[in-house]
């Protein structure tokens, strides 16, 4: 009965994980399951509040022609580089599209694009954000795959791309928030319609953005560890896989946020 130091590897010497996973990866899955419920609660709360308001009717928008935004500029004759919110919102409020009772149509709210002031580009920018995030997921997959091959260099490359993708997404979100805030939106006020719309926008996208930010931090840690050869010494790149799981999850959540908040 000689005793040996009990290291992690000798901790467990039998039994079979029903999922054939290491406990670390299992923990990440369990955490993600739990986090999915947090996001669900926020989205369910969003749904409950959103459907207690009537939506903007299509007939209200139909009466305005498709190039409404440009017409607005003509009407106010203020030059093409005037800030969007200054004229667009008052005109639509005047037309009764934006009011305190009806939930505004997201494609009338999120229709800006950098360097394209005054143009009506519904959801183009947020689609670009979504594309960036999905592409960063693709680079993450390539990084995980490189890790499984044990290719340290390729892991570095793809992790770096993923980090850049994450930062790009966060920057886009910062631009969108700035735009929304300069138009006059706060958690308690919203020029586009009911204040709760803005509150939910800040809460849901903010909570998601916080997750993306944490994910970028994790990715940076993994990137640095990889540069220092930690995983090479360890003999496996499971850590890359674990942050990969988190990153895909954050991406998946965005798909739901995008669907429920912007598209519907």
């Amino acid at each position: 009965m000689s005793t040996q130091t009990i290291s992690k590897s000798s901790t467990w010497r039998g039994g079979n994980s029903p999922f054939k996973l290491s406990y670390g990866k299992l923990m990440m899955w369990i955490f993600l399951l739990s986090d999915a419920f947090t996001f669900s609660s926020l989205l369910v709360g969003y749904g409950a509040i959103r459907y207690s308001f009537p939506s903007t009717e299509i007939s209200q928008i139909e009466s305005l022609d498709l190039h409404f935004a440009e017409n607005v500029q003509d009407k106010f004759a203020n030059g093409a580089d005037a800030h969007h919110g200054e004229h667009f919102i008052p005109a639509l409020r005047e037309a009764g599209v934006f009011n305190e009772i009806q939930w505004p149509s997201p494609d009338l709210v999120f229709n800006h694009f950098p360097f394209a002031h005054g143009l009506h580009l519904p959801l183009i920018f947020v689609s670009l954000m979504t594309l960036i995030l999905i592409l960063s997921s693709v680079t993450m997959v390539l990084g995980v795959e490189a890790g499984q091959r044990g290719d340290k260099k390729a892991v570095s490359k793809w992790m770096l791309w993923t980090i850049i993708g994450g930062f790009a997404f966060l920057s886009c979100q910062a631009w969108e928030w700035t735009n929304f805030i300069t138009a006059g939106a706060t958690p308690w006020a919203n020029p586009y319609g009911p204040p709760t719309f803005a509150a939910l926008f800040f809460l849901v996208t903010g909570f998601h953005g916080f997750h993306v930010f944490s994910g970028v931090l994790l990715n940076i840690i993994v990137y640095i560890n990889n540069l220092r050869g930690t995983y090479e010494k360890r003999g496996h790149y499971e850590m890359v896989e674990k942050v990969g799981l988190y990153w895909h999850f954050v991406d998946l959540v965005w798909v739901f946020v995008f669907t429920f908040f912007y598209l519907i």
Binding site: T3, Y23, S34, P195
Partner: protein
Amino acid sequence: MSTATAHTEDHHHEETFISKYIFSMDHKMISKQFLITGIIMGVIGMAMSIAFRLQLAYPDTGFPILEWLFGSKWAPDGVLDAGYYMALVTMHGTIMVFYVLTAGLSGTFANLLLPLQCGARDMASPFMNMLSYWFFFLSSVVLLSSLFVETGPASGGWTIYPPLSALPKAMPGSGMGMTLWLVAIVLFIASSLLGGINYISTVLNMRTKGMSMTRLPLTVWALFLTAVLGLLSFPVLLGGGLLLLFDRGFGTSFYLSDIYLGSAGALEHTGGSPVLFQHLFWFLGHPEVYIIIMPALGITSEVIAVNSRKPIFGYTAMVISLLGIAFLSFIVWGHHMFITGMNPLLGAVFLVTTLIIAVPSAVKTFNYLATLWRGNIRFTNAMMFAIGLVSFFISGGLTGIFLGNATLDIQLHDTYFVVGHFHIVMGCAAIFGMLAGVYHWFPKQFGRMLNKPLGYIHFWLTFISAYLVFFPMHFMGLAGVPRRYYAFTLLPEYGVWFDVNVVMTMAAILGGIAQLIFLYNFFSSMFIGKKATQNPWEANTLEWTTPVERIHGNWPGEIPTVHRWAYDYSNPAYESDFMPQNIPDAGSKIELFETKQSLEDTKQKKAPNASFFTLVKNWFKPKTA
């Protein structure tokens, strides 16, 4: 196991006081930390309940001790302030539900038993386990600190319904106290998440060789499913709490709409709904009830089987009923909101799902009774408390069927009937399960035995006083006495209940004294109790194969291999009436026990098959001499 070997074990881990007792990563130490923190919180919670029971029994009498405890601000002349009465009720509920019966119960026994009964050296992540305790500790400190803020602690009830919780100016308790409450709960959720992730992965991934899911002791099953419930329901409270924090701090109106406040006039909030909070809260709140009771049920299964010297009746049925309860607990939350207002059809759905929960609960109860039936019962302290749990689970469960009815609920909602129901079924039953666990595993945790006569006194006083406090509440509730009332002096129609209130308060004080006996027993036995043997209850599960000295890594040398299920008691194939899980099957060499019969006999004589059909078959079989 001599102390010499234990010494060599310890040599590999030079431990300072801090790494051994404070920032310990050893699951056994963490379980002790959880238990003792839980006991401290329990004492505070119980003291609060006695304080407000004094108010209910003697509404106009001053008690100097209350003034001494709470100061002349909250108890002028020893009479509780009405707002502070509500604060005490709120804090009592919060402390008991979250800090004692969730963290204190699950935290203690999941940490102690999951690695030991699954056959693991420690939890999957000992570091996260340590964090889990310290988040819990921090959360307890934050919650208790709210007792010392100027406006007093949260006082809108433990369910923190908006608008009282969402408007910081609604009443004194809605201010700083409410904020601290929310911060404490966020920390608590972090603790529960870290713990839950650990518990689940330990059970799934760290079991020893031979320990299949179907051989797990029922304690492990119960604690595992409890962790799953916590993992899936607490995040929803986190989401709900986040919205609430926004409403409080950032002027949003998720839960608020059209409110006029005496001090501030009409508020600008529009568009929210307080009912949304109730949905989000009870999506946690109902599973929370099962998070509380399921570990207690698991402990009871183990204690009853060990002390009846019989295999647990219907092991598979027990596991399936646990699974059923776990699943159903997520689709019944609406029964807390029958009166809030919901679509009658939805109400009917929640009614049906609620009543269905009675089925798995009844399966469990009958299985306990069938396990006890004709068992060779040893009335140890733990056994007394386990039987006490069965008693409370029956009497509290039956009133649950009343309350699950949407129609009856119109009369019973927010009366003392509800208070009586949940105190018996999840308060007393879970506390009894917890105490059964403490008495049963004290030798494992501390290496010494608890004093048995004191244990009996503790049991009987607690049992009698608990029924005396909570049983009359049902009659009060049927008569319509509302809960959360500060005093009934101005309501003469409730005058007949004054004497009953006095009796209940007396019983509550008696119950408090009984817990002092337990505290004395608990803390003194740690040092002067009789030294425990390795397997004092002659139980089968793996934790009793570890040395009494509680070494790091649990087992010196190899982890035992499991060869059988956990309930091989009184198997006629063996001479001994128990057969630990790590002993190989008959047929291979048994070193510890000699078998009475030869191998051929063993094959013919099967273990008593504890199934329902066998029971029925034997019932009709003519008795042989």
